[in-house]
Symmetry: C2
Subunit: 307 residues, 2 copies
């Protein structure tokens, strides 16, 4: 085991799940944790998310050989400054943020001389806070490491092994490319979901109660994503602006094209798009990145409840 | 029991589920069925989706007191013409189409003198075809009836009772209002999902393989919806054009506003939207229109599989 003392800063969905994952999968590793919110610290103690919850950030990371910052992307700089006085010389500092170039800059600025390897486990749910975590969150999910130029290879290997122990498959990628890939696969989908739910709730012609009642026609899927943590997502869009705007312009251009097809009654253009998109779904199900059951297995659950 | 002989025209996901639902919930009701595709008829026979599968559309509806057209919206006119010679004088003709004004016109034109009450069960999965149906598809879902002016009240009551027997809650609505409501809760979400999956698969900067790998960040939810039946959805957009374009313009306007907020680094505007949208999700879960488990219970399923 490469790391023997792991400190987790930020004890929400991700931090809590890492703590529980280490306890489940890496016996003998000591975990400490800190959160800037005293109520979250109290709840994390009750739930046993880490071995010891400590009230001071610098104390929480003292003696740790791996520190993982699990705070919103916009809070990384402040969190890094708060732990700086307690960091050991040989410590590896990592994080779980969804936008990597901004985080890399913030950590490099704030913690000069320390080894920093940013990471992004592509896993989560719409829940947030200390009660949302569970040990298997990272099972069968990808974790992307974005080591800066000159990052020590042995530390990259150690961090890879750490995430593998939690059940993830690890990929190493350039931070800029990460931000472009995740803009497509995560940031734009969230922005679109938030926006469409906002549009639906502001209509005059259709009441909010009707939107809720008839949501099973597709809308409800968007509302799940649009229930995600507002602070986390605000920070993602503030810190991955360029890639998000670039992808958004592509998407808005494609949407205008579809609008024209509908206005012109061009059924062939629609049929072509609606057929092509099935191949991507097949790939995702085949590669184990989503449930193959129709309607995410909702029918199964309804049947169980009805039975 | 108001209806004793029910004919189902079109034996895909919806038609098959109605057949299975009648068998499960309405013992003694005789069902017949027809599909224009001989392979679907053969499969429907093997699966027993209806009591008798008949090779001729007019024969399939002969003696039926309720006929339900379960074909894509654009095929309603042709299906109605095909059954017309076999319809009994007292029959009620209904359907399951997702756009109601266009269907009402097509059926009224093609079947003058017959009683027609269009209907739309707000239920479905991303699967299609005769193998996709199941008897509980309509449990705890809404079914919207859009009776035209002068539709006989007793027939509306009979059709209400029919859908209630399949597990649905029935609402009566004006066809024009239906088309506006469903444009928001179903048609625009599908169009957005199809478009975003198309955008992602056409990028030069991000490979299709990367899009698939990192889809758990949100994108995978959109791919499920974008795997729905292309013919059905092309027809919805062709036949609910005005409401779809109106709602699309609202959505695209809101998206432009969010784009400006991101470009300007306006975190407050984002935080405000991302907070408001949570209330709608709560309403949907509280009213039983979606699974309350985080991530649609995917974690549970993963854990079961891993255990």
């Amino acid at each position: 085991m490469s790391f023997t003392r792991v400190a987790i800063v930020g004890l929400g969905l991700l931090g809590g799940s890492i703590g529980l994952g280490v306890r489940a999968h890496r016996h003998g590793v000591v975990t400490t944790g800190y959160d800037s919110d005293p109520q979250v610290r109290a709840r994390a103690r009750d739930l046993g998310l880490v071995g010891t919850v400590i009230d001071d950030p610098a104390e929480a990371v003292r003696q740790a050989d791996l520190v993982i910052l699990c705070v919103p992307v916009g809070a990384m700089r402040q969190a890094a400054a708060a732990i700086a006085p307690g960091l050991s010389p040989g410590v590896l500092v990592s994080d779980v943020g969804s936008a990597k170039q901004g985080v890399a800059r913030a950590l490099a600025d704030t913690l000069p001389g320390h080894t920093i390897i940013p990471a992004h486990p592509v896993a989560g749910t719409e829940r947030s806070g200390p009660d949302a975590g569970f040990a298997s969150l990272f099972h069968a999910r990808w974790c992307i490491l974005t080591p800066p130029d000159g990052a020590p290879a042995d530390k990259v290997a150690d961090l890879t092994e750490f995430w593998q122990a939690l059940g993830s498959t690890v990929e190493v990628m350039d931070a800029g490319h990460h931000d472009m890939v995740l803009a497509v696969t995560s940031h734009i989908p969230h922005l679109v979901a938030y926006t469409i739910v906002g549009t639906a709730s502001d209509l005059e012609q259709v009441t909010r109660s009707e939107v809720i009642k008839y949501s099973a026609g597709g809308f409800r899927d968007f509302t799940r994503i649009a229930a995600s943590d507002p602070t986390m997502w605000r920070d993602v869009f503030l810190h991955n602006r360029d890639a998000v705007l670039e992808m958004m312009d592509r998407f808005m251009g494609d949407l205008s094209t579809m609008r024209s097809a509908i206005a012109a009654g061009d059924g062939d253009a629609m049929f072509d798009l609606f057929t092509r998109t099935r191949a991507i779904r097949r790939g995702i199900v085949e590669q184990g990145q989503d449930d193959a059951r129709p309607d995410f297995g909702r029918g199964d659950h309804d049947r169980e409840n009805a039975a």
